[in-house]
């Protein structure tokens, strides 16, 4: 298992190389010249050209990429073209916010959606099931920024219970986490219901009942564990989604996270930031996927990694 984990971590290297190369390729296709954007308004064509040469933009895309990778290998993620600040330092500052948001919302989503989904599977086609199904549809249809604004109006503006934006205290996390995990609770509750329902009709669950096991044991011990694999896969991808895709939430709540950093950089084609962010995000997604795969083998003895 250790060997497998090591192999998977080593496999991250070509993955990250591929992803960053792809980013360089895509960005080279995007029209517009970063040097022209960066140069002062009154700069002449020569000055812009000189700037382009100094940034290395006159070289072919592949050379630019190799030069970047060479620097990364030496531990240098470069500086932002615009602010001239170190990308690595900025990421170290921002990553904790995004990671906390991701970990907390995924944890809370699992704590709520797995029991709720199991309950609706056990009580399927009853009133409780219909109510939960309705709520799930409601929350997965509601855009998260809208939920965020509603939360701000109710819990900050009208009541003053929670800080409306910014970061710092644990209270700052409450509303962003709710806004992020509402839709993932909704979708994971539904998928848990489906998977548990699937397992609960299987022969071995009937065997468990035939042994005289009580309903709680039947569901918790026999059904849920077998349904858990696809459920944690869903939760894992929710986590990955938060890392790169919570830009709207970070903007609404003014959280200085990785997503806003990345999106702002894309707008001005700040390549060191874009590649730096994507590299870090893909490493984390890779690690989460690895953890989920390792969890598979813990849950299901049929899954063995050599």
């Amino acid at each position: 298992m250790l060997k497998y984990a090591l192999k998977r971590i080593l496999l991250l290297i070509p993955t990250v190389l591929g992803i960053t190369l792809f980013i360089y390729f895509i960005m080279s296709l995007v029209p517009g010249d970063p040097a022209a954007m960066l140069a002062p308004q009154e700069a002449t064509a020569e000055e812009i050209e000189a700037l382009r040469v100094s940034m290395g933009l006159d070289k072919p895309m592949l050379i630019q990429y190799l030069r970047y990778i060479w620097n990364v290998l030496q531990g240098d993620l470069g500086v932002s073209w615009f602010t001239k600040k170190s990308v690595a330092a900025e990421l170290v500052n921002r990553l904790p916010y995004t990671l906390t948001l991701g970990v907390m919302s995924t944890l809370i989503a699992s704590i709520i959606s797995i029991p709720l989904g199991t309950l609706t599977a056990v009580k399927h086609n009853t009133l409780a099931d219909y109510v939960v199904t309705f709520l799930c549809l409601f929350f997965s249809a509601m855009p998260n920024f809208w939920l965020a604004i509603l939360l701000q109006i109710n819990f900050s503006l009208n009541t003053g219970w929670l800080p409306a934006f910014g970061m710092g205290t644990p209270a700052h996390y409450v509303m962003p986490v709710i806004a992020v995990c509402a839709s993932s609770i909704a979708s994971n509750t539904r998928s848990t219901r489906t998977w548990v329902l699937d397992v609960i009709r299987s022969d071995y669950v009937r065997t468990a009942r035939a042994k005289g096991a009580n309903e709680v044991t039947v569901v918790m011990k026999h059904a849920l564990r077998n349904a858990l694999l696809p459920i944690i896969t869903g939760l894992g991808s929710s986590f990955a989604g938060v890392l790169g895709g919570s830009v709207v939430i970070e903007t609404v709540f003014a959280i200085p996270g990785v997503s806003t950093y990345l999106t702002t950089a894309v707008g001005v084609r700040d390549m060191p930031i874009i590649t730096g962010c994507i590299m870090v995000i893909s490493i984390f997604v890779g690690i989460v996927n690895l953890l989920i795969d390792l969890l598979y083998s813990v849950i299901d003895p049929r899954v063995k990694y050599e």
Binding site: D203, A210, E215, P301, R302
Partner: protein, 327 residues
């Protein structure tokens, strides 16, 4: 002799989106203490549904008991509370399921799955006692006890079947429902399992309903036979009475004719003409009427009543009206 089980006029239907399937239609059956009954019938005749009904284990989303009752030791299983049912299942009545491939939980070790029965029904047992029982029952069904730490997927089909059997036997039930327990096994293992079950009956006086479509096994292993067709028992008697082939329901006769005779040189097997009864309809008359060579107009319109041809041997067929010879 005292009856351990009485099924009275049981009716079970499955309500699916496409159709209503009438699986069991007024089935009545009595089982004496210590009796081994072979329940014989084609696929879809209602054998498994009957067995599941006895444990009140029908899938409640689709199955519906529309009539009748099942009395186990004087109590109607359909009237039992949840906790009474839990006490019944696994310790009083246990079932060997038909499909060993899917009947075991893939994420639990074999030991844990067998031990669970003891944990539920013998809470006073210590861990060491339980381990001992599990090891004993595993060696009894021919599996080395140290293999118990394995998971079902590490077992062959025949071994899984033996685990299922061990699980059903470990709490020493009073009534064992064996749903084609040997279908998945090769002949040598089949013989071992049958011997094992026979020993259990002799040692503990376990009553059994042995569901099969193998008449050979019935002749060898069972004391009595019930033939099921279209969700009702159409013939019931001791093995000697039924296999004597003097008086048989036309369906039973044709079942016997399906067995190739080794003495004569026959090129082809003799199948029963026609098809199994469409379970979406309940015939007004005899369920076998359409396939029966003796079928009369009366058979199609009037349900035949139970006709005793001798003590303990009845046939549900108009042909046998007033044919009892020992009175």
């Amino acid at each position: 002799m005292e009856n351990i089980l009485e099924i009275k006029n049981l009716k079970v239907q499955y309500n699916t989106d496409e159709a209503v399937v009438y699986a069991v239609n007024g089935l009545s059956l009595e089982l004496a203490k210590g009796e081994i009954l072979g329940l014989v019938g084609e696929t879809g005749a209602g054998k498994t549904t009957t067995a599941l009904s006895i444990m009140n284990l029908l899938p409640d989303a689709v199955a519906e008991v529309t009539g009748g009752e099942i009395i186990y030791n004087g109590k109607n299983v359909f009237g039992m509370s949840k906790s009474e049912l839990r006490d019944l299942r696994g310790s009083e009545v246990s079932m060997i399921f038909q499909d060993p491939m899917t009947s075991l939980n893939p994420v639990m070790t074999v030991n844990d799955q067998i031990e669970e029965v003891l944990k539920i029904h013998n809470p006073q047992m210590t861990k060491a006692e339980r381990d001992k029982r599990v090891a004993d029952i595993l060696s009894l069904v021919g599996i080395a006890p140290e293999r118990g730490k394995s998971f079902p997927h590490q077992f062959s089909g025949g071994m899984k079947q033996r685990v299922v059997i061990a699980m059903a036997l470990v709490a020493e039930p009073s009534l064992l429902l064996a749903d084609e327990p040997t279908t998945a096994l090769d002949v040598t293992i089949q013989a071992q399992i049958l011997t094992l079950m026979k020993e259990l009956e002799e040692k503990l006086g376990t009553s059994m309903i042995f569901i099969t479509h193998d008449l050979g096994i019935v002749a060898e292993f069972c004391q009595s036979v019930a033939v099921i067709y279209g969700g009702e028992i159409i013939e019931r008697g001791t093995v000697e009475q039924v296999f004597a082939c003097t008086d048989n329901h036309p369906y039973t006769s044709s079942l016997f004719q399906c067995i190739p005779d080794l003495e004569t040189d026959e090129a082809r097997l003799k199948p029963i003409p026609g098809f199994v009864l469409d379970p979406r309809t309940v015939p007004k008359g005899c369920p076998f009427a359409d396939r029966c060579e003796h079928c009369t107009e009366r058979c199609r319109t009037e349900k035949p009543a139970v006709q005793y041809v001798e003590e303990g041997h009845f046939i549900k067929c108009h042909l046998f009206e007033g044919r009892r010879h020992d009175v």
